[in-house]
Symmetry: C2
Subunit: 245 residues, 2 copies
Amino acid sequence: MKKISIVGIGPGGLDEMTPKARRAIESAEVIAGYNTYIKLVGEIIGGKKIIGRAMMQEVERAQLAIQEALSGRNVAVISSGDAGVYGMAGLVLEMILDLPEKNRPQFEIIAGISAVNAAAAILGAPLMHDFAIISLSDLMTPWELIKKRVYSAAEADFVIALYNPKSKRRINQIIEVQQILLQFRKKNTPVGIVTNAGRENQKKIISTLENFTQEDINMFSLVIIGNSQTFIKENFIITPRGYSI
Amino acid sequence: MKKISIVGIGPGGLDEMTPKARRAIESAEVIAGYNTYIKLVGEIIGGKKIIGRAMMQEVERAQLAIQEALSGRNVAVISSGDAGVYGMAGLVLEMILDLPEKNRPQFEIIAGISAVNAAAAILGAPLMHDFAIISLSDLMTPWELIKKRVYSAAEADFVIALYNPKSKRRINQIIEVQQILLQFRKKNTPVGIVTNAGRENQKKIISTLENFTQEDINMFSLVIIGNSQTFIKENFIITPRGYSI
């Protein structure tokens, strides 16, 4: 019985993957993950068995990964960013702990640079004060709860980072979010959009709360909305650490 | 004129520092940062000039770092975790952009594994759903605003991560936070505490909302409080991605 590593590969390039994550991938015989992520680490997975069919459900992929480990192979389950943030860590860990203790593979969770941290470094320093991370995907979360979180985060002046802000199918939610935020924050509140952070075709947009929904936003974008103290300086967004009081 | 790199070194060990961050430190002639952080990267900074006196204020350290770069030396300003999360990124970036464009050093911000991501990987998978990051340090933020954020995050069922939860001087705030949270969440809500994540003397505690304030918490601890769906399984905390609705 071998080990299963649940690995956050960071934004994409090997240059932003930790040595610990890289070692886990290199020493694995089987790699499980979305095709997109598999391609990102293509350089270091030559010859390994891949569990990554595009249409495969996450539960099925996790099951296959665990079976591979139980069959005596080292397995790395990879997520982009941090596997513990909207990634595979929770599902795989739960499935492993559901097995009787004597039938479990060894396992470890390896943190990666999360998408929000990668995007923030590109935008400047927007996360220097308290912030809230919200996914706008309503596949597994009721939209009313997501809206409530946006309200609460807006009211308490959190910097807000939006994961999964928009997809081809889901285009109105970001507008609703904007309308909520405009009840609490000025129209010129800084908003940063980073698409494909740390990857080919990386794109950075500095905008405002009033205008950002007109920008190019897709499922590879991360959106960061400033708090009441955040300012734009040239092509950067900065949230000061202290509050002017 | 040389480059100033604002570097997140990750939780501590070289094994969780990205190649990009390591290269910036290795190629710098001058390193600026707290003594604690300087020690963490001691292996790779032999012979370099250090700007890191313990009592030095952050503004003074940033000024000296920028002066060094303007004098023709490569400089790395280091923060543990991610420099963009309660670190040095905002201050240094603002000071650089305040200089006339022709008198500026080149600069870059390099993301690191943030403390919350490192702690989460140790605890299991507590951050799999929307979460709020709140620092309990009231040095530069009014305590009333911090409490308001705790209220809002509690009410909207965010997983909550607390930075700077407690220090020798500041011991009551965490109790107030607990009291607020108990108005919204069950007594047995999972709470994880990781002290010295990724460093020597790493300590992991799995507790509950009712009991966690009695645990050993200090300025090197990060506290993660689950949402209404979070559960403890053996010695791990898991927040499911989906909501049971």
